[in-house]
């Protein structure tokens, strides 16, 4: 029996807007706070039309102060609301770091559950869109290292809607990182109805036999390009896993894929040292050490500050670097 599901083709930014609208519509406790999220609809239009529809009391243009946005959201969350706080760019989250690290992520434990912080922090992130300085940072690892917050990164409209609705429903803080390169890079079929995607579950973008490539966010774009070339030019069959949630990682999916292909490459945009890719490696060696036929390779950003855009293509992991790593792993 097939059930007809109404779908529409959406870009990721439209999928996010759809999820936000759904959440505002179904629960009065849901609020959006951020800079330019109201009348302007957000600098990327993630909140376009929402203030008009739900009012300035629920889609709130705040003063330009990230710590103030976070602190106020924590107070709202502890007192019964479900705030979605937008950081205009992830590179601007640093003034809010104290509020997230010392309060949002600890409130449940500091009060043994009396008060909690059921809030979502949304932030556009990543390089590759020729943005001004500091607008292109990939600092997801700052948050995966922070106990008490989940870290989610969608790469397409379908995932974005389902993951964002699940993040909003989550009883604890979630940071929802939106790769700017994915905002309008593709359109996917998105059900008009509400659906949720469980956090901590990876998605298989492509099945393959010879090597598993683990990646997330905008690097899914580079990875899929590299895979297409590798399969055509070298006949290497690649499996591509979009991790989607970086904390907690999908341990079972990582293990299952590596144990099938026996080789692995991890591709991340962020600087390599101390990054999430190291955690993926840790899961692989913990679960699948005896299955490996070659050392796991990592492809990542450089251990340098994310540069201004004239240098960003040098900085970012390239299709060639991914191909090189995969070939080395397969021919080891």
């Amino acid at each position: 029996m097939s059930v007809a599901v109404e779908t529409k083709k959406l870009t990721m930014i439209q999928g996010i807007n759809d999820a936000l609208s759904t959440a505002l519509n179904e629960d009065e406790r849901t609020l959006i706070l951020g800079e330019d999220v109201g009348v302007n609809g957000g600098v990327f239009r993630a909140t376009e039309g929402l203030q008009e529809k739900y009012g300035s009391g629920r889609v709130i243009d705040t003063p330009l102060a990230e710590s103030g946005i976070m602190g106020t959201s924590i107070g709202l969350a502890a007192n019964g609301f479900r705030p979605i706080a937008e950081m205009q760019f992830l590179g601007f989250v640093y003034p809010a770091f104290n509020q997230i690290m010392t309060h949002a992520t600890r409130l449940r434990q500091r009060t043994l559950g009396r008060y909690t912080s059921p809030l979502v922090i949304r932030a556009p992130y990543g390089a590759g869109v020729r943005a001004p300085e500091i607008h292109s940072d990939s600092v997801e690892a700052l948050f995966t290292h922070m106990p008490g917050i989940k870290v989610v990164v969608p790469s397409n409209a379908y995932d974005a809607k389902g993951l964002l609705l699940e993040s909003i429903a989550d009883p604890d803080p979630v940071i929802f990182l939106e790769p700017m390169r994915c905002y309008r890079s593709s359109k996917t079929e998105v059900p008009e109805e509400k659906y949720k995607i469980e956090l901590g579950k990876a998605a298989t973008l492509k099945e393959g036999e010879d090597v598993s490539i683990f990646t997330w966010g905008a690097m899914t774009i580079e990875t899929m390009k590299a895979v297409e070339q590798l399969e055509a030019e070298k006949e290497i069959s690649c499996e591509v896993i979009d991790l989607r949630t970086l904390y907690p990682l999908d341990r079972d999916a990582i293990a299952a894929s590596v144990q099938k292909t026996t080789r692995a490459v991890v591709v991340q945009e962020a600087p390599l040292t101390g990054g999430v890719s190291s955690e993926v490696l840790s899961v692989i060696q913990d679960t699948s050490f005896l299955y490996l036929r070659s050392p796991v390779k990592q492809v990542g950003g450089l251990d340098v500050p994310v540069p201004v855009y004239s240098l960003e293509n040098e900085y970012l992991p390239s299709v060639d670097k991914i191909k090189y790593a995969v070939e080395q792993t397969v021919s080891f």
């Binding site: 103030g68 602190g71 709202l76 341990r251």
Partner: protein, 356 residues
Amino acid sequence: MINDFPMQQLIDQDGNVLDHERMQEISIEKVKDMYYFMHRARLLDKKCVNLQRQGRIGTYVQYEGQEGAQVGSALALEEGDWMFPTYRDHAATLTYGQTMKNLLLNWRGRIEGGIAPEGIHIFPPAVPIASQLPQAAGAALAEKKKGTDRVSLVYFGDGATSEGDFHEGLNFASVFQTPTVFFNQNNGYAISVPVEKQMNSETIAQKGLGYDMNCLRIDGNDVIGVYCAVKDAVHKARSGAGPTLIEAVTWRYGAHTTADDPSKYRDQSESEVRRQTTDPLLRVEKYLKAQDAWQEQWKQEIEAQIESEIETALEEMESYPEPEMNQLFDYVFETPTWTIQQQIDEHLAVKGGKTS
């Protein structure tokens, strides 16, 4: 600016009434209540310093000298209001309903120590300076959105006014006109740094002008004056007139904490002079004596009662069961993630299955 923000008093340090009209609202019984709460807080504070010296609690943060500011402000709150204290505001939290046992547990390094009895909205004491101010604005905004008339009262010191979160908290409260009372205790020192080095402005109250906020400067050692000023600010907040910044000028007699030596940065004889002159308890005693309402026997009775309360709380603290291991793991997320679950399993495996 100092002339625009004179330090307002209802009762001067000799116990004389300066505002007779306002004092008509305040019964002798109410004043005796204030004295009781201040005395209770002071005796607990003194006990805690001793307990720390004896190694029975950890590093302790004294508030002696600031009881007028803390008790007067706390008594102006009602049920359902929100209190956002720092680690030096236990006279306030005790007065608003936190238990002595929990305050002692707090200094014993126990999570329970930061949790108030059910139904009393007290946030756990904020440690990162000024971080609680935007949260108090947020909690008050929530009350406003719910359509209640409940307010938030947030405590912070003079040093906190240098932090970004002080300004962000005031600005958010001002922009959203939240029912928040920003209650500053200017005790003259941020650990060792005197207020003159902390800011180039003559008062803290004037900082509210930048946010077009009700702002005033009061004598924090005049408990009745504090009570009335905060009551007014709370009333404004309840009636939709927005936030207020109150600078309560006070003094801590002792060290920043039991790990601090104030003789390195100030002459402690100043504290001795102040004990004889501006002390908040002494002032009430003088007032009550002038009203012919002071009974030495009453003081001895409440003292005995408080000491017995402290002894009971101390026994409860010292016989409190050791923390369960699950406190470590069970409250990070509503449901532990697999990394935490794996760590629980390994932890238990190494410990042979024991949970504490």
